[in-house]
């Protein structure tokens, strides 16, 4: 039912400004995410990274500026309209239903790809059943891919934090996004779990060819995955470039990394 796959268009963020009462959370921020690349957004706490994601996903409305995904303008769209363009995200703090099973949570991610409405589901039309089967298969594939195949029947609330984060990631993947926004995907994981999750993300990029915007404080992960980096501080863009460039940018070091090498 979906059109034959096309590479994601570039995401262009231009002069986006977000103000809350008495606070400018984003101040004329611009950057571009090239198709198929991993673009990291880093910056100190409170720099505006999550706010940026909230604008991209339609949760917040920007006070100014524009966000274009290819030719389409995203600002002003409701979250579900953004989702329908193939933009998926994860949440920094989990946003799962604790009593829902992993399988059902992931199927929720496929909401936009499924068609059956109240009537079809209520009348159990064969089309709805077929669709259900099809999508459950894909859910299983994705669960296997991120390493959740053993937990599909468990309520998400009973999983440890790290696995719940994986559920978040898998649910976003279930949306078959063309642009994936990941807000701190490895936070709260042990070192080896981080490595595994980073590998999953790399696998997504390589296997699906989609664009990924990544917010992460783990510089190791950022360095390993990112093709380009944008650095925010106090809502402003203070630097950007390749990971290597950024790591040695004195402004970035001062504002974010600190003098000490964090990778110790």
């Amino acid at each position: 039912m979906s059109a034959p796959w096309s590479p994601p268009p570039p995401l262009t963020v231009t002069d986006v400004t977000v103000r809350f009462a008495g606070l400018t959370a984003l101040d004329r921020v611009s950057f571009t995410v090239d198709p198929g690349s991993v673009h990291a957004v880093i910056g100190p706490n409170g720099a505006g990274k999550s706010t940026c994601f909230n604008v991209l996903s339609g949760v917040y409305r920007a006070s100014g500026g524009s966000v274009r995904f290819g030719a389409g303008e995203l600002t002003g769209l409701a979250p579900h309209a953004v989702a329908s363009l193939g933009i998926a995200r994860t949440f920094q703090n989990l946003a799962l239903s604790p009593h829902t099973t992993v399988a059902e949570s992931l199927l929720l991610g496929r909401h936009r790809l499924m068609r059956s409405g109240f009537l079809a589901a209520g009348l159990r039309l064969p089309a709805a059943a077929r669709e259900d089967r099809l999508h459950r298969e894909r859910v299983r594939e994705i669960a296997e891919f991120v390493g959740l195949e053993g937990d599909l029947g468990a309520p998400t609330g009973s999983l440890p934090y790290g696995k719940q984060k994986l559920v978040e990631l898998a649910r976003a993947l279930c949306m078959e996004p063309r642009l994936l926004l990941l807000d701190e995907p490895v936070a709260g994981m042990t070192a080896d779990e981080r490595q595994r999750t980073a590998a999953v993300i790399a696998g997504v990029r390589d296997g699906l060819g989609i664009s990924i915007v990544l917010v992460e404080h783990d510089m190791g992960v950022v360095m390993r995955l990112a093709d380009a980096v944008t650095v925010l501080d106090f809502g402003r863009r203070i630097g950007g470039g390749t990971p290597a460039q950024v790591q040695n940018d004195p402004a970035v070091v001062r504002a974010y990394l600190g003098e000490e090498d964090p990778a110790a």
């Binding site: 579900h80 239903s97 009593h99 992993v102 109240f118 599909l152 029947g153």
Partner: protein
């Protein structure tokens, strides 16, 4: 957060759905034989229950049939409320309003314009089956008109906003006399399907005289069955997942592509249509619609039903409806035989009061001791007997 949610989400997992949830698959294979046995047992039980239900009109007297009819109509209304309040987390205290729309809508659509009680009554005189369908649609439209509120509010705000509907409804029912007949209500045109009238004229079947109660029994049974199956399909399918997501985390639901306000409004409309159908049936059972019926107490009774029965599930709504509507009848009928209960006028606790005590207590206790409601008991029993897979 809430344990009462769990039934909504996985209460019905051992289901005969075409593809068992893949997550269950390893478990399912392990216990496949068990499952099949249970399914077999289930269908035998269902068939037996179905037969009993079909045979009842041949044995029960009008009082019990009527009680059963009320319970069935209530069950349909409760399913609708459970879709809204249980599954989507939208508290509604205005359910009685939509019941009234259904009931009065049917009267006005099916009735003939006539004069009664000093005023002229509007009536379109449509065929009654068509009027019934249109009345259900009308209830849906009424729900839709409320969507600017239903789509935007939640929790207590929505609950109390919907309370306004009760007051508006009562006001209209008493004052719009040309449609509603005012305080004494209006007579209900009997249902007529394929030339068969569901009224009090006697038809003798197998030596049993069939009056309206006997005949309506089958109509109600069919309506309940369809309504229940439809709701179950909705809950288990794509809309059901979206509804639960709206309840648990509405922002996440939006980001997953669920149009939040529209979905909330749609569920409200769907729930109103269930109420409308229940209203049509109630009108047919009552043979007259009276405004006093559609007050706040009725709305609260429906909330009590879904809590007692179990939030978020179809079975919960049905069990709860049966409990709440049959309890007072049982107590009244057998008041002589029950300790503490005494006939009215003799000074003790009257059956009406006892039933109110009981269902007040049932609401409180159900949430505490039966997180899945009465309908959840079977599940608890089931999980006690089959060891749960421990998470590692």
């Amino acid at each position: 957060m809430s344990d009462t949610r769990s039934p909504a989400d996985h209460a019905e997992s051992p289901s005969p759905s075409p593809s068992p949830s893949p997550g269950r698959a390893p478990v399912a294979t392990a216990t496949a034989g068990n499952l099949r046995r249970r399914l077999g047992a289930r269908s035998v039980w269902a068939a037996a229950a179905g037969l009993v239900l079909l045979a009842l009109p041949f044995y029960l007297d009008r009082f019990w049939l009527q009680a059963g009819l009320f319970a069935m109509a209530a069950a349909i209304g409760a399913i609708g409320l459970n879709l809204l309040t249980g599954a989507t987390g939208q508290l509604s205290m205005g359910h009685a309003f939509f019941l009234a729309v259904g009931a009065y809508g049917y009267c006005a659509l099916a009735g003939d314009g006539s004069t009664a009680g000093g005023h002229t009554l509007v009536g379109l005189g449509l065929p009654s089956w068509l009027a019934a369908i249109l009345a259900v649609a009308l209830a849906g439209v009424a729900g839709g008109l409320f969507s600017p509120i239903a789509g935007r509010l939640r929790g207590a705000y929505l609950g109390i906003a919907t309370l306004a509907l009760i007051f508006i409804g009562q006001h209209v029912l008493f004052n719009a006399t040309s449609v509603t007949g005012g305080f004494n209500g209006r007579a209900v045109e009997p249902l007529s399907l394929f030339g068969f009238d569901f009224d009090d004229t006697e038809t003798v079947i197998a030596a049993v005289p069939f009056q309206s109660a006997e005949k309506l029994w089958y109509v109600s049974l069919a309506a309940l069955l369809c309504g229940a199956l439809f709701a179950r399909g909705v809950l288990r399918g794509r809309p059901g997942r979206a509804m639960n997501a709206l309840r648990d985390h509405s922002i996440a639901a939006g980001v997953m592509g669920v149009p939040v306000a529209r979905y909330r409004a749609s569920v409200f409309v769907l729930s109103s249509m269930y109420a409308g159908l229940a209203g049509v049936l109630l009108a047919l059972i009552f043979q007259r619609t009276v405004p006093d019926y559609f007050g706040m107490v009725l709305s609260l009774e429906y909330l009590a039903m879904i809590v007692i029965g179990g939030l978020g599930t179809v079975a919960g709504a049905v069990v709860g409806a049966a409990f709440v509507s049959l309890l007072p009848q049982l107590l009244t009928r057998y008041s002589d035989a029950l300790p503490l209960v005494s006939a009215p006028g003799t000074g003790g606790v009257s059956p009406g009061e006892v039933s109110r005590y009981l269902y007040g207590a049932a609401v409180v206790a159900a949430v505490l001791f039966l997180p899945g409601g009465l309908a959840g008991i079977t599940r608890i029993v089931r999980t006690r007997t089959t060891p749960t897979k421990e998470r590692t």
